[in-house]
């Protein structure tokens, strides 16, 4: 079935079809219509779930942690300041190894108040032990949410997953989305079988004081699980492709086989970059595109190109581009652009321009430092 709707409504639909049983959420622009729709699903009886109308995002994540620890599939959604308020509990969810799935609608951080797209909110959470996925279309939003449950709940992974997409650019833009039948989704994503849970018949204590040698081991296990997740993400993406005709993996490559330069970007800028690649190809430029779908785990092994131009909508102050710096030293010729901050429009023409600048050996903040 083709549904034409916004990424936010598509998120709510995906959470419903994934059969999330406890949803705890707090409204924030531009995520609001996700939770409005879910509240409607629950109140109308379309979705058999408990909806907890919490008083903050910190409590939203906490309630999800507790419900997930009870062995129940959960969902939440947030953006920007809401995600930042959750920060402590994001770490908690990661360390507790609870496969919570959350949508983050990327939005700039204040002051001054800015509701437009910017990935600094989720980028600032990259060390919390969550799987981070970025989407470039509403279809990808739907597919990624369902797949995220399967990846996160895999006993080889058991880590929470964050699905990110740009505020307004996707969140409030209607696009056609192919939605499979519920029975096909149920087949793909069976009921949640937790590895452990809070149970009165088996009274364990979860999260009490832990000595350094145990603690270090638990942390190490998270890193190992992140590495294992790479394989699971590829496998689940392939299975999705076989069932529903759209292949996924850690990255999506476009015209990279013979490319001299590869543009690497994320989220909706990847959709724009695809147009830029076609335009440049028409002019005879041998350029390709890597859409970095997965930022954690970081798929270095899929990024073995000689010349990469990174375009990213986030910055680490005092360091520079985040993805750019993560790749530094691993790519022989690397260029980094910071663009689209605070929702500044980045069109395919801007991306073409950044490509030209890189060829001239220039990079930096676009269009502030270089244009």
């Amino acid at each position: 079935m083709i549904v034409i709707d916004t990424a936010n409504h598509i998120s709510a639909l995906a959470a419903k079809m994934a059969r999330a049983r406890v949803i705890a959420a707090y409204p924030i622009t531009p995520q609001t219509t996700v939770v409005e729709k879910l509240a409607e699903y629950v109140e109308s009886g379309e979705l058999d779930a408990e909806f907890i109308r919490v008083e903050s995002e910190h409590s939203a994540m906490t309630a999800c942690i507790a419900a997930e620890a009870m062995g129940v599939r959960t969902f939440t959604a947030t953006a920007s300041h809401g995600l930042l308020l959750m920060h402590e509990m994001l770490h908690w969810a990661g360390l507790a190894r609870l496969p919570i799935v959350m949508v983050n609608v990327n939005r700039a951080i204040g002051p001054g108040w800015n509701i437009w797209s910017d990935a600094n909110d989720s980028m600032a959470q990259r060390d919390t032990g969550w799987l981070h996925f970025y989407c470039s279309s509403n279809q990808e939003v739907y597919d990624s949410i369902i797949m995220a449950y399967k990846i996160a709940e895999s006993q080889e992974v058991m880590l929470p997953a964050m699905i990110c997409y740009d505020g307004f650019i996707l969140s409030h833009t209607s696009m056609p989305v192919e939605v499979p039948e519920q029975s096909k989704i149920d087949e793909f994503l069976p009921e949640f079988k937790p590895a452990w849970k809070i149970d009165v018949e088996n009274p364990i204590t979860h999260g009490n004081i832990v000595e350094p040698h145990y603690y270090a081991r638990i942390r190490y296990d998270m890193q190992v699980a992140m590495e294992r997740a790479k394989k699971i993400i590829e496998e689940v993406g392939e299975e999705w492709g076989k069932k529903f005709g759209r292949d996924y993996g850690l990255v999506q490559e476009y015209k990279c086989e013979d490319a001299d330069y590869v543009i690497l970007t994320m989220a909706s800028m990847a959709a724009e970059a695809k147009v830029a690649v076609d335009e440049l190809r028409n002019k005879g430029e041998k350029v390709g595109l890597v859409n970095l779908r997965t930022h954690r785990p970081m798929p270095f092994e899929r990024l073995k190109y000689d010349k990469i131009i990174v375009i990213e909508r986030a910055v680490s102050f005092g360091l520079g581009g985040i993805v750019y710096n993560e790749l530094k030293g691993r790519v022989p010729e690397l260029y980094g652009f910071i663009a689209g901050i605070g929702g500044m429009d980045v069109s395919y023409r801007d991306i073409e321009r950044m490509y030209e600048l890189a060829k001239e050996g220039k990079d930096g903040w676009y269009p502030i430092e270089v244009k």
Binding site: A24, E50, A66, E68, W92, V200, H206, G207, N208, I209
Partner: protein
Amino acid sequence: MVSDRGEIMAIKDLPEEEYVLKGHAACPGCPATIALRITLKALGKKTILVIPACCSAVIQSLYPKTSFGVPTLNIAFEASAAAASGVASALKILGEKDITPVVWAGDGGSYDIGIQALSGALERGTDFIYICYNNQMYSNTGIQRSGATPYGAWTTTTWTGKKERQKELAEIVMAHHIPYVATATIAYPEDLYNKMKKAKEMKGPRYIEILTPCPPGWRFDMSKTVEIARLAVETGSWVLYEAINGKVEFTGQSKRILEGKERKPIEDWLKMQGRFRHLKQEDIEKIKRELDEKWEYYRKVMK
């Protein structure tokens, strides 16, 4: 003797089951352990404890062991009531009707950093029992002032004595119109047990606050814990009541005081505690005045 409703008349009637097990890490004379032991005897096996950062996070002992005989979910300092909402919703989805989610939090985690989550959980009608064991300070971090610390008390962040009055969290909780609010202390275990039992039989948000005098924090000998708790009630510094659907009934010694029995002099209680050693006569007069006002309020407004 145990009544039809499971209420007891004396300590000897407490059930034999123990859920606070040997080997826990509490200080000698710890009141929180006494309170939890009685609480869990009343609530029984079908209890899920949610514990934020507080002394009880340490008392339960180190991973991979535990000294608590009921499932326990530790959670961040400010988050326990929200976690209870998550547990309660999960129980509903799982169709579990006779398991009680119980928050066991200190006064720091309840009066201060956790008050937002607590208020939220009460307002949205979470089906749980929230228990605040109140030792009137941040004891786990080493005796710092909290919103529950009384006027004049020395702490490591009020070296010359706290300059402000404590707030009354149970009264703030009552403003949420929840089915059950009660106060208790460890000196009256039957009263504490019976209030827990009563709370367990009810639905919706229930709040019980237990005064737990802390020997190292209040600066008294570890053999005096129960005595100090009893004197807190007899001097009127702590008050015992319960409110069912907003109707307040004073209980035990507090009821007797309200009916005219004279309060013991507050000095008797203050002088037993090193934290009040520095108080001047004018401080004591101020404490007395405010105590009188408090009891006037109980008589005229709350009763």
